[in-house]
Amino acid sequence: MQQEAMVRDDPPGKTTAQFRQGSALRQLWETNLEVFQRDKMALFGLCIFAVFALVALLAPILAPNDPLTPLKNANGDWIKDALPYWLAEPGEDEAEGYTNEFLLGTTNIGRDIFSQLIHGSRSALLVGFSAAAAVAVIGTVVGLLAGYYGGWVDTVLMRAADVAFGIPFIPFIIVIAAFFDPSIWNVVLAMAVLLWRDTGRVIRSQVLVIKEQAFVSAARVSGASNLRIIFVYIAPSILPLSFLYGSFAIAWAILTEASVSFLGFSDPNTISWGFMLQDAFLSLALTRGAFYWIIPPGLCIMLTVMAGFFIGRGYEEVLFPRLRRM
């Protein structure tokens, strides 16, 4: 019950006209902006994503070779296990019949590792963003419906969430991969089918809180329809939460894709970082000390996953400022 002496002033730089148009969407935009203005880590995460997105977009231009085609030397032999040019002894490559231009060397069947790395960003981001979008959208809709309508809608959706919680994730993907052809989309499908459960639960609980607030009753009393209440009054308050879960899902999806590829259930014709790791593992790159084959994809996975978590943390700080003190 703080008494304010007077009406507080507007934040500077915002004119009256802008505010009057100020819709919920605009506020949402401002929340997002706030996340990245306040939290430099989140901004860093965003930059990582931006760089990878650029790389993925320009992959055919950036990659010096086709990632899947084994390269041959002048004699028509495959250039197997070439060292990066910065590791190779002078003259060694010429003896093998090619000029070394491989930044990260080649694989045991003569594919260019650097090109693979660049093309790997495509599948990583594709899987990451589509899985995140699926998880966020499905989870948000489920949470909104279950929380707002309650009753049997809530019961059905939340029991479905319980079932989803009960299914082990990686084995589920393996089963899916057995049913369909191996593809990176299996991961997206599995995440969409299973991982909305966390987002849905959290958003439902938030909706339960918001819908009991007096301003929602007020909207109902003035005749607002259910859909209007859900989308105009409730959704804008929980959307930052969906973004939070979405950004975690990006990281999670990339990690999952890597694990699944590493286990050997990915499409051999799509290059991903996980696939590269598996390839390296199977061809005993580790024992040969080919760190240039293993570390770069590992580093890329780590960077993108970190970026997702940094952004997620940024949202958390803005959404739940109390966490900061702990």
């Binding site: 100020g22 005749g223 607002a224």
Partner: protein, 727 residues
């Protein structure tokens, strides 16, 4: 001799927006055996003063000057350890909302005994004996020592907290809002306990409250705080009969008083000054109706103005005359006019005649025109709303989870068979203890809930069967005003957005027309100039302003019917009257039928034509306000009225004849639901439903005392009453 003596105390809070002088040069003496009431609106520094005395200021708070002497010891010179020794043993405090601070996983008795043993040096047996004595002292059954806090009612917890505060026989007890947020009956009993303790133990008490009637009941002297300073200090009787400071005058006139009903309450317009840069002259000058030029320049000192009376006012010499003028609420209204900038001409006609109400802008005529009563199939033109045998039941503890946990499904009978009618333009008050079903009734009236049984007829149409356009039309005509203005507005919407939403929903397509209506409505609720408020967000406004916005949103559609659920209980005293006056005036101007829901009977008497008293979901008495208040028939009503504290120390409340504790609403009664607590209970009450007896003024009471069974043998309260009359 004075126990506590404060000299020129100054307390600062460092905030991001600058230094706030929360307490600015307070001098105060509390004598042994004195009961001092410290009053003032929120933010005036009362609680800060308390925290400074016991030195538990928040981290950003700092005592910058002054002295606090306790029994001759300079408290500000004490070390932390010495101070800790002093607290509780010498100075006991009951902080705000302390009844929620009992440890929920420990028996109340063990908490009390732990305190006695650790702080008081009692051994186990002595502690047990002392704990039992203390419970006895505050009127709690000693068996209760073995109970956990959740087994206590609110009043019992408050008693336990008082017992804990008194455990170590402190020489000074400081209580911060000890009865706020308690039901009237409980409040009355706690005040009684305090009064008894004062007499028995010759306690020295400092009581902090915003409610002057509480002070009138338990204190023998009063200090009034305003904007970090004491503006008046006096003995209780002269203070209540002749306040010597304009602010005290305003506070006194702002309270509805059952004993002396008024036509219009005084509302102290405006807000306390910004304590980051307090004004150089008198701090109350901005809001004072008696202000003269010198007030803005000269800072009045607290001076003797009579027998043992201190006041800080330049015009204290003329108080006699000012007091008689202060009775007139219009005088206090002038302040507002003088203070506020001149009004721009309203963009749309701000005065609407009765016939215009709800008349839509031309563009949306088809959507907005309400059907005439005959189209609605109305029976009586005059009656707007009728409740016919309405009940509402809730089921709890059922479902799959309940089944697994082994809970039985229980039915809560929130509202039982209530019937009443409401005429156009009439105002009805619903009163009762918390849990009596008054808020549920309010929600039923605006169709936030649907009735389980019975019919609610609005203009002759049953709310249960409204569909589509009829429902939308009903939504336009009936509105709700909420208790907590801080929650009632969407924090993400500007005020304009919040106010224009109902118009958008009801098909007002033209932005200019919407803007016109919004401005007109803001203007009506005295938020002027309206344009200033359009682009504000709720967090930028004070509670009083927000509640006006909530009222504006309710009125923006020009409804016929308004339910106000505890409209001012979250607000400060000085702004309460303003909200009530505005609501009442607009209801009259607009011909609005209003249902006020409140636990505060004096407020209802002030605002309502009729009052209904609810108990366990039933209306036990209903009638014209004056009848219900001055000539209550039902024993429950009599008890409720007796429990309301009167802001006059010479009027002592009669002892209450009933105890706290509403039975669980999961039981259905064969006889009278009130029988368990009724002081006049008779045999017939246990198994025969009391009849509704109505006199010639339509004053109805549902009680056997006035029916055919009036000669039924009386029962002693006790075992025979508490068992047996539930179904």
């Amino acid at each position: 001799m004075s126990i506590l003596s404060i000299r020129d105390l100054k307390v600062d809070y460092a905030t991001q927006e600058g230094t706030v002088q929360a307490v600015d040069g307070v001098s105060l003496d509390v004598d042994e055996g004195q009961q001092l009431g410290l009053i003032g609106e929120s933010g005036c520094g009362k609680t800060t003063l308390l925290k400074a005395i016991v030195q538990v200021l928040p981290r950003n708070g700092r005592i910058t000057a002054g002295k606090i002497m306790f029994n001759g010891i300079d408290m500000l010179q004490l070390s932390k350890t010495e101070m800790r020794q002093l607290r509780w043993r010498e100075i006991a405090t009951i902080p705000q909302a302390s009844m929620d601070s009992l440890n929920p996983v420990q028996r109340v008795g063990s908490q009390l005994m732990k305190l006695l043993r650790v702080r008081g040096g009692y051994d186990k047996r002595a502690a047990r004996r002392r704990a039992a004595d203390l419970f006895d002292l505050v009127g709690l059954d000693t068996e209760r020592l073995m109970h956990y806090p959740h087994e206590f009612s609110g009043g019992m917890k408050q008693r336990a907290v008082i017992a804990m505060a008194l455990a170590l026989e402190p020489s000074l007890l400081i209580a911060d809002e000890p009865v706020t947020a308690l039901d009237v009956i409980v409040q009355h009993q706690i005040l009684e306990v305090l009064r008894e303790l004062e007499q028995e133990l010759n306690l020295t008490v400092m009581l902090i409250t915003h409610d002057i009637s509480v002070v009138a009941q338990v204190c023998d002297s009063v200090a009034v705080m305003y904007a970090g300073r004491i503006v008046e200090q006096a003995a209780a009787e002269p203070f209540f009969h002749a306040p010597a400071h304009p602010y005290s005058l305003g506070l006194q006139q702002a309270f509805p008083n059952l004993a002396r009903p008024r036509d219009e309450l005084v509302s102290i317009e405006g807000y306390p000054p910004d304590l980051r840069e307090p004004p150089s002259g008198c701090r109350f000058a901005e809001r004072c109706p008696f202000v003269q030029d010198s007030c803005h320049d000269i800072d009045p000192r607290l001076e003797l103005v009579g027998d043992n009376r201190l006041a800080a006012c330049l015009r204290s010499g003329e108080m006699e005359t000012l007091r008689s003028q202060a009775e007139d609420p219009a005088l206090w209204q002038q302040v507002e006019v003088a203070q506020e900038p001149i009004l721009p001409p309203p963009k749309s006609p701000s005065i609407t005649t009765r016939g215009d109400l709800g008349a839509p802008p031309l563009a949306t005529a088809s959507v907005e025109t309400p059907p005439s009563p005959s189209q609605w199939g109305g029976v009586d033109d005059d009656i707007l709303l009728e409740m016919r045998d309405v009940s509402k039941r809730f089921k709890i503890g059922g479902g799959l989870a309940g089944l697994l946990r082994g809970d039985h499904e229980q039915t809560v009978y929130a509202v039982n068979n209530i019937s009443f009618t409401l005429r156009r333009g009439e105002s009805l008050g619903l009163a009762g203890e918390s849990g009596c079903g008054k808020s549920t009734t309010g929600k039923l009236l605006v169709k936030l809930l649907d009735a389980s049984d019975g019919e609610i007829l609005f203009d002759g149409a049953d709310l249960a069967h409204l569909e589509q356009d009829d429902l939308l039309n009903f939504r336009r005509r009936s509105q709700l005003m909420f208790q907590n203005p801080f929650e009632a507005l969407n924090p993400r919407f500007t005020l304009y957005r919040s106010l224009t939403e109902p118009l958008i929903i009801h098909g007002w397509k033209d932005e200019q027309q919407r803007l016109g209506r919004v401005i007109e409505t803001l203007d009506r609720v005295n938020l002027r100039p309206a344009e200033v408020f359009l682009d504000k967000y709720p967090h930028q406004l004070s509670g009083g302003q927000l509640q006006r916005v909530v009222l504006a949103r309710a009125l923006v559609l020009h409804p016929d019917f308004l339910v106000a659920d505890e409209p001012v209980s979250m607000l400060d005293v000085s702004v309460r009257a303003g909200i009530l006056n505005t609501t009442r005036r607009l209801a009259r101007e607009l011909g609005l039928a209003t249902v006020y829901i409140s636990h505060d009977l004096s407020l209802l008497q002030y605002t309502c034509d009729r009052i209904a008293i609810m108990y366990l979901g039933e209306i036990v008495e209903i009638g014209p306000s004056s009848g219900v208040i001055n000539n209550p028939q039902h024993p429950y009503t009599q008890a409720l009225i007796a429990a309301v504290p009167v802001p006059d120390p010479t009027i002592e409340n009669p002892p209450l004849r009933i105890q706290e504790g509403i039975p669980r609403p999961t039981e259905q009664f064969i006889g009278c639901p009130f029988a368990q607590r009724c002081p006049d209970v008779m045999e017939a009450c246990l198994d025969i439903r009391p009849p509704a007896i109505t006199d010639e003024y339509s004053h109805m009471a549902q009680c056997h005392l006035y029916g055919d069974h009036r000669d039924s043998p009386k029962l002693k309260r006790g075992a025979e009453v508490t068992s047996g009359n539930t179904r």
